[in-house]
Symmetry: C2
Subunit: 197 residues, 2 copies
């Protein structure tokens, strides 16, 4: 008799990002005590996703097909390519319903401090994709963090050299915010890029 399943489960749960040994124990106890159905469902979902999900050959996002539904959509404007860091960022842009072009998902960002360079996030694939002769504008929508800005800069310079129009999401004061609570860098940017009404 060995009681190995529970320690093995706690150890495996720790592979999830942001889950330490205390959370993992709590999760394991909860699932075993209150939600075994959920545990089996999660087991199956993990197994299916890990074996089925791959990267779209065109835009690099997660999909189960060779080409993802977005890239296949005939109603999309194929002259515009929005470059984002992750599928979650892509989903955020999609939710606005303000963009009908295509995407390229980097699945990461340049991060020299972590040793993540252009090769690690597959910039060569992006440049090949953007150079298909149809794409005219690359909209850089990487995050407005130091790493996201650096990534946008590197990609922007490279694509401009290849003759593409390169744009970046506008910086400024977020909708619904009170100036008192907006950081000064954002207000400074909003002042410099003020628009005539």
């Amino acid at each position: 008799m060995s009681d190995a399943s529970l320690p093995a489960l706690i150890e495996a749960l720790r592979r999830l990002p942001g889950v330490g040994v205390k959370s993992a124990s709590r999760m394991a106890f909860h699932m075993l005590q209150h939600d075994r159905e959920g545990a089996l469902l999660l087991a199956q979902a993990l197994q299916q996703a890990a074996t089925r999900v791959r990267h779209c050959a065109q835009c690099n996002t997660f999909t189960e097909a060779e080409i993802c539904p977005t890239c296949l959509d005939p109603h999309r404007d194929r002259t515009k390519l929005c470059v984002v860091e992750t599928p979650a960022d892509q989903a955020a842009v999609e939710r606005t319903a303000a963009y009908r072009g295509l995407y390229f998902v980097l699945m990461g960002k340049l991060s020299p401090l972590d040793g993540i360079g252009p090769k690690d996030i597959g910039l060569a694939r992006l440049f090949a994709r953007a150079g298909d002769g149809v794409v005219q504008e690359a909209i850089l929508a990487t995050n407005f963090t130091a790493e996201g800005e650096a990534t946008a800069h590197v990609i922007g310079e490279a694509l401009k050299q290849r003759g593409l129009k390169v744009t970046r999401l506008a910086r400024g004061v977020p909708a619904g915010s009170e100036l008192e609570y907006v950081d000064l860098g954002t207000i400074a940017h909003a002042l410099v890029e003020r628009r005539e009404k």
Copy 2:
């Protein structure tokens, strides 16, 4: 073609306690992007634990056997029964190496506000276990929260009526703490229960 695996995985991850839709997405992306091996390992661990782990017929803790290794251990003092809320609490007591008796794990606590009464945490099983004629002392080690205290009170009264010696973990100032930062209820208790040196 349907891209159902990823949304299904995010939905399944939300069954874990403390995991909302943002964390679930982050977990799913991380596992698919950086740790598919971990995802498959977690799937297997969940499946095994959910199908194999059951409750010890004697102490009610999680085990894969009919009776857990602790209850079977011949070197344990069978006259002492320590009552805890969860296997995590049991593990905390075990780590002290200061206790060599047996356990009963409630797998919960009385919580009238949540509609959890004596039947829901199987107090009848505890009373049967404690009344085996061998157990002489019940050590109440439920948490020192309102619910844990209420649970200890109910169990204590019932076991005293059955002629058992009932004790509770000592209250007082935790080891290594500075009085300035200890709550006044704890200090008041420590004063009342002060010991001669």
